[in-house]
């Protein structure tokens, strides 16, 4: 009896010894056969390891340290996060501003291009539809910095267009970006009337994908244009709305162009956002640890948003399938 168990043991040991060895050898053989695949991927991964994976790990790791970016860091646990969330600093203001700006970004990017696309969808003449589409798409090619510079001129308190208009109508001129009370609303006003070309094209593609029979049927039924919009078109472009919302939330969380080029977060912190504070803490104050912690917080927020979005898309698809 003991002999046979030993025998079985010996056999299984032998099996487990040889099986992985042959599997390993087989893998190795296949790797040698496809050596050029690894060669093809090597450039990409050299780039990604250096400029994506390593910086990502470095940012998360250094968020727990005091670090000037170049000399060795000191581990401080959660101190940076505590500073961001509990101390009564500029960071609270930054996150409040980010919340306001991104909420508004979602509303404006969700609503106004939708209005434009719904109207465009109702233009019967092909030539006019083309003209209007071009009209809204063309401003996409204006570089962001040029847009900021031009709007800055329009906001200018002394010679700007908006104060010239206010004076012409006998109203009090405003401080716009120079006044802590109006600075953030001014940033929100930029881009008026907010019919973003990219969003409009995404919505329009959604409208054009609606089967023509569906629309015809509703016209035969005598549904008005408004009713048709709310009862048929809107429910059918929910995927486009979702896409635009998530893209704009992610974009708004990371955007700090105005702060970098014009406001520096001021006046008196009125326009500051976490992304700008991150840049400012690292580049201007050499506090790379705090900056990494802000970056990590933004990463977690964006990651959570994306996950929620993905999960809700999946459940939506399942619902449709049933």
């Amino acid at each position: 009896m003991t002999e046979s168990t030993v025998d079985v043991d010996a056999r299984t040991v032998a099996q487990t010894m040889t099986r992985p060895r042959t599997a390993l050898a087989e893998t190795w053989r296949q790797m040698k056969r496809r050596w050029y695949c690894y060669l093809m991927l090597s450039g990409t991964f050299a780039l990604l390891i250096t400029f994506a994976y390593y910086p990502a790990f470095s940012a998360v790791y250094h968020s727990f340290t005091i670090w000037d970016g170049f000399r060795p860091e000191t581990w401080v646990g959660l101190a940076n996060y505590r500073e961001i969330f509990t101390s009564d600093t500029i960071f609270r203001q930054a996150f409040v501003n980010m919340l306001l700006l991104s909420t508004w970004q979602v509303i404006r990017a969700g609503l106004f291009p939708l209005l434009g696309a719904a109207l465009l969808y109702r233009i019967r003449s092909e030539r006019w539809a083309y003209f209007f589409r071009l009209l809204f798409v063309l401003p996409i090619v204006v570089p962001g910095v040029v847009g900021i510079q031009v709007w800055r001129q329009l906001f200018e308190p002394n010679i700007g267009l908006f104060n010239a208009l206010l004076k012409a109508f006998g109203a009090q001129p405003l401080g716009w970006l120079n006044d802590p009370k109006t600075a953030l609303p001014s940033l929100m006003f930029m881009g008026f009337p907010w019919v973003d070309g990219v969003g409009l094209l995404i919505y329009l593609a959604g409208f054009l994908a609606i089967p023509i029979e569906v629309i015809e049927a509703s016209i035969v039924d005598g549904a008005s244009s408004w009713k048709r919009f709310f009862a048929m078109e809107l429910p059918l472009i929910v995927p486009q709305i979702r896409l635009i919302v998530i893209l704009n939330v992610i974009g708004a969380f990371q955007n700090f162009g105005w702060q970098l080029l014009v406001t520096r977060g001021g006046p008196m912190g009125a326009t500051t956002v976490p992304a700008w504070e991150m840049y400012h803490q690292a580049i201007d104050s050499g506090r790379y640890g705090v900056a990494s912690a802000i970056g990590t917080v933004l990463f977690i927020l964006i990651f959570t948003m994306t996950l929620i979005n993905n999960v809700s898309i999946r459940s939506n698809v399942e619902y449709q399938a049933h």
Binding site: Y54, L261, F299
Partner: protein, 286 residues
Amino acid sequence: MASTSIPVKMKHSRYHLGRLLPPITLAILGFLTFVPLIMLLQLSVKSEQQMADSMWLPTWPMRFQNYDRASRIMLPYMINSLTFVVGTTTISIFFSVLSAYALGRYSFPGKEFLYMAILGLMMIPGILTLITRFVVVVKLSMNNSNWGIWLPMAAGSQAFQIIVLRTFFASLPEELFEAGRLDGAGEFHMLGMIAIPLAKPILTTLIVLQCNGVWNEFIWPIMVLRDPKRYPAILGILRLRELMLGVRDPGAEFAGYVIAGLPLLLLFAFSSRAFIRGLTSGAIKM
């Protein structure tokens, strides 16, 4: 009789109003959208005196010499931008085509893991790595050089490009490659002779999208380029005032803004379809 004719008439007029409402609203929205651009254009052909007289209404004569002056100052910055665009796009398309081809056409050990490692990057926002990426570039002594722009920006677009191209390469029928293999073509040869020519429309879209992205990028160049002489055009316009050496000429500054945007307008004019396809394909872009 009267009771029936009135509703018909009302319905008739509402029908007309309903047809006119969309174009009128769109025209108003379109005009308002263009107000800043119209203002930029009229400011760019004004003298300082004309601006003092009437800042926001057009004046005559138009001073087109503003563009002369601005273009002379902008030229080196435009060349910088072109260098960044061409270098970044070449490097990134070269590597993403190779990677996408390997992942799309072959099976080899570790393929799933490597593809997931690329897909996973779509979940990492640029803001997380901005600061530490800068530290890496400084440690590699790439700051203030073209490499500091080219390599990190090429790395930043790898994931999106590879995902798009891999899907395309994987969809190509195997017979195309069987024929090539029978003719004794090597794997790299088939990529160049069969796969790339077929991928031309997708490659155009990716290239146009990346040209647009690199031309417009300003945060990364501000961080990496210490010497403002190396700035791209989009940052050069912020220095126009100091570059005019004390001679105030705000009209030429505005002309400079227009000039910095012109190459993108040209790109759009020549490839509007690819341009639009690229910008609206944001579904998997972060």
